[in-house]
């Protein structure tokens, strides 16, 4: 830093006076501080400036103008008041920003939490989509299970009908065989009847011949009578058997009719049902696929929301930067207030002593360094995108 050899108050006050009526308060303050800080520097570069005066020299005699004094005091009062107001407003802005940022952060945290819940629900749905648990929350899955079960049951019934038909047909062919055997029995019984008839006739002939033989044939007549009786009995048996056989044949026919009913089922109702169930299965599978896709999309959106919200929360660091800039502004305002007070304490009608001058030089030197340091900081903090917070 350059050393300031001489302090010029007059040019500073003159500058303020010149711009006061034309410029707003801030411009005046800035112009005044710049003029004050840069006074020593500018004297080296300008030939038109007043010749430098040594430290040991006394300050130029202030003009004994009471009007000028009055104006100066008014300006100092205005400056002090203005700086106070700016300080107050700065604090207000900082407070508002902090409050707003707190609200925003709470809101975004809630959004994050809700989005997380949403994602969990979606993941749960996606998982239940893949499982076959009975207490699944997904309705399409339940329907799918139901359809699957129905298909299973229908297949079972159809298989059973086919199996029943097969065994019925086997039975029918067996019955047909039995019917043939029984028909043969009926034919054989006819032979038995013929034999019985012939035996009867024979017995009749024997009885006739026995009668012709007279007393000698009496015993033979008894035998012929017995034979005739046997023949009648055998015919009677044969008739009984025929009755039973014909009842059996009737029974077989009836059984065949019943089996016919069992074996002959119209398959169309069953096969049509199965066809419809198959179609439903395909439809449900399509539905499941599309719902899974939609859930996946929702899941991605949730992730995206979380990602964006975390980006926004990161951007909230601007609040810290604003607080730091505000603190810096407060410090500068305090420094400027102190400078204004020093100006107020300077009297134009007396010469300054050497210790007074030394204190003044030190104060100005400090103010200059402070200004440079703060200008540097404000350059470092102009952007949020760097994602860095320069902590003071």
């Amino acid at each position: 830093m350059r050393a300031i050899s001489t302090v010029y108050i007059i040019p500073g006050i003159a500058g303020i006076t010149a711009t006061f009526w034309a410029a707003p308060l801030w411009v005046i303050i800035t112009a005044w501080v710049v003029t004050l800080a840069g006074a020593a520097w500018s004297q080296h570069h300008s030939a038109n400036k007043i010749t430098p005066v040594q430290d040991t020299d006394t300050l130029p005699e202030p003009p004994q103008n009471t009007l000028l004094k009055e104006h100066r005091n008014k300006l100092i009062t205005l400056l002090s008041g203005g700086l106070g107001t700016v300080h107050e407003q700065n604090n207000q802005v900082l407070g508002l920003v902090q409050e707003a940022v707190n609200g925003l952060q709470t809101g975004f945290k809630d959004i994050m939490a809700q989005s997380e819940t949403q994602k969990e629900v979606v993941l749960e749905l996606l998982q239940s989509e893949g499982t076959t648990s009975a207490n699944s929350k997904c309705s399409t899955n339940n329907i799918s299970n139901f359809i699957h079960e129905t298909e299973h049951v229908l297949k079972f019934f159809i298989d059973m009908i086919a199996e029943t038909s097969k065994e019925s047909m086997r039975l029918v062919y067996k019955l047909d065989e039995m019917w043939k055997q029984n028909s043969r029995i009926a034919g054989l019984l006819q032979d038995v009847k013929t034999i019985a008839d012939q035996t009867n006739l024979l017995a009749l002939n024997a009885a006739f011949e026995a009668a012709r033989a007279g007393d000698y044939g009496r015993g033979f007549a008894v035998v012929a009578g017995e034979v005739r009786t046997l023949s009648a009995k055998s015919l009677s048996f044969s008739n009984e058997i025929r009755t039973v056989v014909s009842a059996t044949i009737t029974g077989i026919s009836e059984a065949r009719t019943i089996i016919n009913d069992i074996a002959s089922k119209d398959l169309k109702v069953m096969t049509n049902s199965r066809r419809r169930v198959n179609e439903m299965t395909v439809a449900i599978q399509g539905l499941q696929k599309s719902s899974a896709e939609q859930l996946a999309t929702v899941s991605h959106i949730s992730e995206d929301i979380q990602h964006r919200v975390s980006e926004v929360v990161m951007s909230m660091q601007f609040a810290d930067m604003v607080a730091q800039i505000g603190a810096s502004a407060t410090q500068r305002l305090q420094s400027m207030t102190a400078l204004v007070q020093i100006i107020g304490s300077l009297t134009t009608d007396t010469n300054l002593t050497e210790p007074q001058l030394a204190t003044l030089r030190q104060t100005i030197h400090d103010a200059e360094q402070f200004a440079v340091a703060h200008a540097h900081r404000s350059v470092m903090q102009h952007s949020l995108s760097q994602g860095e917070v320069d902590l003071f």
Partner: protein, 102 residues
Amino acid sequence: MPVQFAVSDNKQEVRVTISGRFDFEMHDQFGPVLESVQKFGNARYIIDLGAVQDIDSSAIGMLLLLRDMAGGNQARVELIRCRPEIKDELSMANLDKMFTIA
């Protein structure tokens, strides 16, 4: 005749042609086909259903019985020239897993 069957010279192939409604009433005529199975054993059976208009479960029973008698899972039974609706019906009755259906 609604059911006709012919045996190849080498007795290795039995060709059965069925026409009309293939239902229980057909079982009398189908009987000789089943008897031939006992005669020719594991020959190849080709059942031509080209002229069949309709079938019911007893027809399926007869076909399954033929398959059983011809060796069950080892039987070589082919159902050929099926109409689309007949083919569909046979598939829906799970016969496509037991027979070669064409």
